[in-house]
Amino acid sequence: MTSTQLADPQEILVLGIGNPLMGDDGAGIRAAQLLNSQHLPSNVNVEEAGLPGWGLPSLFENHTNVILIDAIEMSESPGTWRIFRPEDVRFIMENDTLSLHQPGLAAGLSLAEALEMLPENLTLYGIQPANLTPGNGLSPEVEDSLQQVVASVLKDIEKKA
């Protein structure tokens, strides 16, 4: 994110969240890479956001359409993925144990909410990890489900664009 320009308010921002050095925690980053290898509309900006922590509200600035992709502990079988809408995202914010990072996605979202900086249209793609231990690479279940996640995000983008 070297750009110092203000974002186009029409821009759809997709943020891949996570740490690729911690196994399936890199699911969001891998999803961002897969998306960036596709032909995307010009008003779509996909970023590998890593662990933005308290910086999350700054990433939201001037955006009404934001899609987050992250590994989320949902007590489901590995590779299961779900779409959380803003009302569900609130649940994620309240349940900090779902957060995998310090300060986590939940803390960053809570801060954005307190600052009234949550984007109008916020979607969170959560992917159930199998393995969160140090090391590169995703488990096969998560790798497989990312194809569906990416397809769904692309559809989502199409609708918004």
Partner: protein, 430 residues
């Protein structure tokens, strides 16, 4: 009557540490700051690796001062391999270093320390009660991050810094854009000084030895001699005479001592040793913040960080002016001179204080040994000495109030505990 304070994993610091204090019938029985993270073995990881990889590996010691670790690593390698840097490289490195100091100081002062004074538990309720304060902090952090990204390729874990120079260069227009944003940030910087000059810092004085780098011509962040406020000045190569690392059973961080039982590093040590070299606007800010050297209240480390925020913004503007005057050139990194038995020491003043990397490199460019001494380690003994000095002065307070005073003291040091842990083995007796 017995009072016991046992803070397991103190919050709003980087990493895991415990405060253990017990007082019985007005007499202090225990007073410890326990570093309880597991060892990280970075020095062992470096052995057998190419000199070109060292800065990228050691950058991962810390997600906050990754540029600081990269820089100390590069300076150790460059000193071992006889690398002479260009003026442009030196300026770009100072600039990115300022970006990281700003990022870290803003995070610490606003997100970790301010909530204690503004009566909230964390930055999230602070956003509700003091929205403008948090928005300002985020603006300043974003600018610092963008500055790092423009020079080093990304915000954290710099990718463009390499032995002898850079692999990527900012454009003149990126620099002009950053310059304008730095100039515009003066309003935020002034508001920061105003905010922190109004905080009721706890009253606690304990004179100690302050150690920082020192250079004849500038407020030292990269390179310099190791200066003690007690007088002695050592060249970086003789760092072991200043640090004298030792082990204690209750900490997985190595402790250090120089002329006394403990010394302090960090913004306050830098301020005490080098305040005359600060930018005039930073000197004015120090006076507004009530700092008058030597400052012996450790809680004011955060105030000294605020002074450095002012200095770094002003110095960054002046560095960009110097770079723009000459125009940025895409330079090839300066050459290395490999030879057998090469050894070099790199020293930097990272946000939390003096950082030392010392490398041994063979004729093929492989590291045969490494020694990294991190600021938080150097502060542990001094922090404990402060705790032992503070507890008798606050004994009359309820346990909760004592605990808050102690937590705030720990936070004032801005400890980065994860970084501090790098011992090979600690054996517990008995």
């Amino acid at each position: 009557m017995t009072k016991r304070i046992d803070v397991h994993h103190i919050t709003r610091v980087e990493g895991h540490g415990n405060i253990v204090v017990s007082v019985s019938d007005g007499v202090m029985q225990e007073c410890r700051f326990e570093v309880v993270e597991t060892p990280r073995f970075f020095e062992a990881m470096l052995r057998g690796r190419s000199y070109l990889e060292a800065s990228h590996i050691t950058s991962r010691i810390c997600g906050i001062c990754s540029t600081g670790h990269s820089m100390a690593s590069l300076r150790a390698t460059e000193s071992a391999l006889g690398v002479e840097l260009s003026e442009q490289t030196k300026l770009l490195r100072k600039l990115v270093f300022h970006g990281e100091i700003l990022d870290s100081h803003v995070l610490h002062a606003y997100m970790l320390v301010a909530p204690d004074f503004l009566g909230v538990g964390s930055v999230i309720p602070l956003a509700a009660t003091h929205k403008d304060v948090v928005l300002r902090a985020l603006r300043m952090k974003k600018l610092a991050g963008d500055l790092c990204a423009a020079i080093a390729g990304r915000h954290t874990h710099p990718i463009a810094l390499t032995v002898g120079g850079f692999t990527h260069f900012p454009t003149d227009s990126e620099l002009r854009d950053l310059r304008q944003r730095l100039v515009d940030s003066r309003a935020d910087v002034d508001a920061t000084v105003d905010l922190f000059s109004g905080l009721p810092w706890p009253a606690f004085e304990r004179e100690t030895e302050y150690i920082s780098l020192s250079k004849p011509d500038e407020y030292a962040f990269i390179d310099g001699d190791i200066l003690s406020s007690d007088g002695p000045r050592l060249p970086a190569e003789r760092y072991k005479e200043a640090t004298n690392e030792y082990l204690v059973p209750h900490s997985s961080a190595k402790l250090t001592r120089n002329l006394r039982d403990a010394y302090m590093v960090g913004a306050l040590a830098r301020y005490n040793n080098n305040h005359a070299q600060l930018h005039p606007r930073a000197i004015a800010a120090a006076s507004r913040l009530g700092l008058k050297p030597p400052v012996t209240n450790p809680y004011l480390n955060t105030a000294a960080q605020v002074v450095e925020i002012v200095h770094c913004v002003e110095d960054a503007i002046s560095i960009i002016d110097q770079l723009l005057l000459k125009g940025i050139r895409a330079e090839t990194p300066a050459p290395v001179h490999l030879h057998s038995g090469a050894h070099g020491v790199g020293v930097c003043e990272v946000p939390r204080g003096l950082l030392i990397h010392s490398y041994w490199i063979d004729e093929n460019g492989k590291l045969t040994g490494a020694d990294c001494i991190i600021p938080t380690n150097q502060n542990v003994a001094n922090l404990e000495a402060d705790m032992r000095g503070l507890v008798p002065q606050i004994l009359h307070k309820p346990v909760e109030a004592m605990q808050l005073d102690l937590e705030m003291l720990v936070r004032a040091y801005d400890p980065c505990i994860s970084c501090s842990v790098h011992v090979q083995q600690v054996e517990k007796k008995g």
